[in-house]
Symmetry: C2
Subunit: 342 residues, 2 copies
DNA sequence: TAGTTTTGTTCAAACGTTTAAACAAATATA
DNA sequence: TATATTTGTTTAAACGTTTGAACAAAACTA
């Protein structure tokens, strides 16, 4: 049961050398002879030696733990990002502590404190919807802990950033809908105080203008992008004397809600109303009709975020990364009015 | 930038006492005078002292980290369990390291090694689908690390267990379908080598017998319960000369695939074919028709799992917990043939 | 061959905390 | 008043590793 842990001291005794020699051998110190190194490695393996990371962390002032803060772990986008961060960092000897803010500012602050408390070597995070005050994130930075943001962040934050071109996404969507013959394109937006949603709104407005379409303020509604928001806002659109002929939602859940309402009203999609979502949640390809959406390259975002962290912690690079990936429009049934594309 | 960390030594110097006095004051040692305790607390607050958990962990041989292994973080069931474990344990001063096996045995083993390596104080896990060899889980136990399993586990494992009554779930489902007038009830099952799926199969068989229905071996198909499995197996059922009039899938994703196929074939649900899933994934209430399913009390499972761990680590209880919750049948449109229930 | 450099190892302190044992002072017991 | 107990604190070692400095031996240099 309570088997005594094997330490470098045990290895040292076994070989008649000192613990520090063992430590240096294990860490491949240039001054140690190759014979000692091999002997140590052999005994270590035989005794099934497991280094005590706590001790090493304490001495080196480095925990080899990286904290992650995501708004929700069960969103496909975030879980995929996390999975790839994990993958990349595990390969480099780091372990990952995942926390969720549940979109709550309070929880986010608590998470930050908890991560700083356990002395993570860095934090990779995406902002909660609620968050406007960045003082806790600045606290991370002022504590000297490397911070990498992804997807949701703010420009004022002096941190690495990995995200997609949200402005460009909206252009892709609107151009596609115009191409399908839509003339009155509505936007179920996120709240404009979040940078990414603001950018999507700007992209939407500019794309309308570029396509010679008027901007109708009634067709632009901000919300939390939940399913219920999608339903309510769609009901609101349907009650209009002059309905939109396309709806672009800044989130897939809102798009799903909108779709349900359309189906309940017996409105043919995309014939009478085309629909586009955002994020490529798995259900978008599963519902009928399948929902056109934007893919955000979650896997790549995860990898790049991890790599940005590694660059900082290994001191390869001092200056801040700012990586913007180009989004991909996945055209599916909900917006495919011309069959030509099929 | 690199602000020097405040240690108990600093507090000690400030007050002209020794570090050990400070430590004892902070840990509320009975022998320390109330005056010293207050003085220490005051200075600690003023200097913004943050205890070094690594040092404390090293000395106490306790990391205050708990490892979690889930098959997939983005399943609603698992993410909800995890959220509640986190909540419960954070309140007790523990932090949580979440890892995913992605249903892979290899990844699961790697995760176990990683968690043992960082010296977690305990592990809370649910088996990957692939896993049949439990040697890595036994390794956890033989390392003296408390292990709590939930949902998916095996009886031979000497660990705490929290789950639902899978056998009883099937009975609930079959009884309900019989009540709705179904006579040929098929089961899209999980692989019987996993205990929970075997139990669901047994419950299905026994419930048929109890209701005086024959067991048709063709109507019982094992699979990985993916969307594609659901589609393929439903196609197979539809091709039968004597089709089933109800399908009970042991997972919601398989149920969703089955539903899509039914809709594509224009078969009215539940009129010609009733459908029941398992797990209460959010989409089951969102699709049309909404899918009847089993709720597994994920929040409670998470809480109970955390509490089982705490009991072990605090030494309150030596013997193993085995907690089986009763499932809840959520009756929705996909199985509601009699409108009486509405 | 005396002096310098290199090589392989040991020494000792450090990381920040906890804790059993020791101790002096204050308080209680007889 | 002498002795035992309690109280509040200090001393010192420990947790397991890392690392700069020290050192002796071996290998070069001139």
């Amino acid at each position: 049961m309570g088997k005594k842990k094997v330490t470098i001291k045990d290895i040292a005794n076994e070989l008649g050398i000192t613990p520090s020699a063992v430590s240096k051998a294990l860490n491949n110190h240039p001054r140690m002879s190759i014979e000692t190194k091999n002997a140590v490695l052999k005994v270590a393996k035989r005794l099934n030696y497991q280094p005590n990371l706590l001790a090493s962390a304490l001495r080196k002032g480095k925990s080899n733990l990286v904290g992650i803060i995501v708004p929700r772990a069960h969103s496909n986008f975030f879980s995929s990002v996390v999975e790839n961060i994990e993958e990349t960092l595990n390969g480099k000897g780091y372990n990952v502590v995942i926390t969720q803010s549940n979109e709550s500012y309070r929880k986010e602050c608590k998470n930050i404190d908890a991560l700083l408390h356990i002395q993570v070597d860095g934090i990779i995070a995406s902002l909660a919807n609620e968050t406007v005050d960045l003082k806790y994130f600045n606290k991370i930075i002022s504590n000297g802990v490397p911070l990498v943001m992804f997807d949701r962040s703010e420009d004022v934050l002096k941190a690495d950033y990995i995200g997609i071109n949200d402005y460009g996404s909206s252009k892709l969507v609107v151009d596609h809908l115009v191409e399908q013959g839509c003339k009155r394109i509505a936007h179920i937006a996120g709240f404009a105080n979040t940078r990414i949603y603001k950018n999507r709104i700007e992209g939407y407005k500019d794309a309308l203008a570029e396509n010679g379409l008027p901007l109708d303020a009634d067709l632009l509604v901000e919300s939390k992008l939940t399913i219920k928001d999608g339903r309510d806002i769609m009901e609101h659109f349907l009650a209009m004397p002059e309905r939109p002929d396309a709806v672009y939602a800044a989130g897939d859940y809102a798009a799903l809600g909108a779709l349900q309402t359309l189906i309940e009203h017996g409105i043919p999609v995309p014939k009478e109303m085309a629909l586009v979502g955002f994020s490529n949640e798995p259900f978008t390809s599963l519902v009928a009709p399948s929902i056109t959406t934007i893919d955000q390259h979650s896997a790549q975002i995860g990898k790049l975020a991890a790599e940005s962290f590694l660059k900082k912690v290994e001191g390869t690079s001092e200056d801040l990364d700012k990586i913007i990936l180009e989004p991909e429009l996945l055209i599916r049934a909900s917006s495919m009015k011309s069959k030509a594309l099929a």
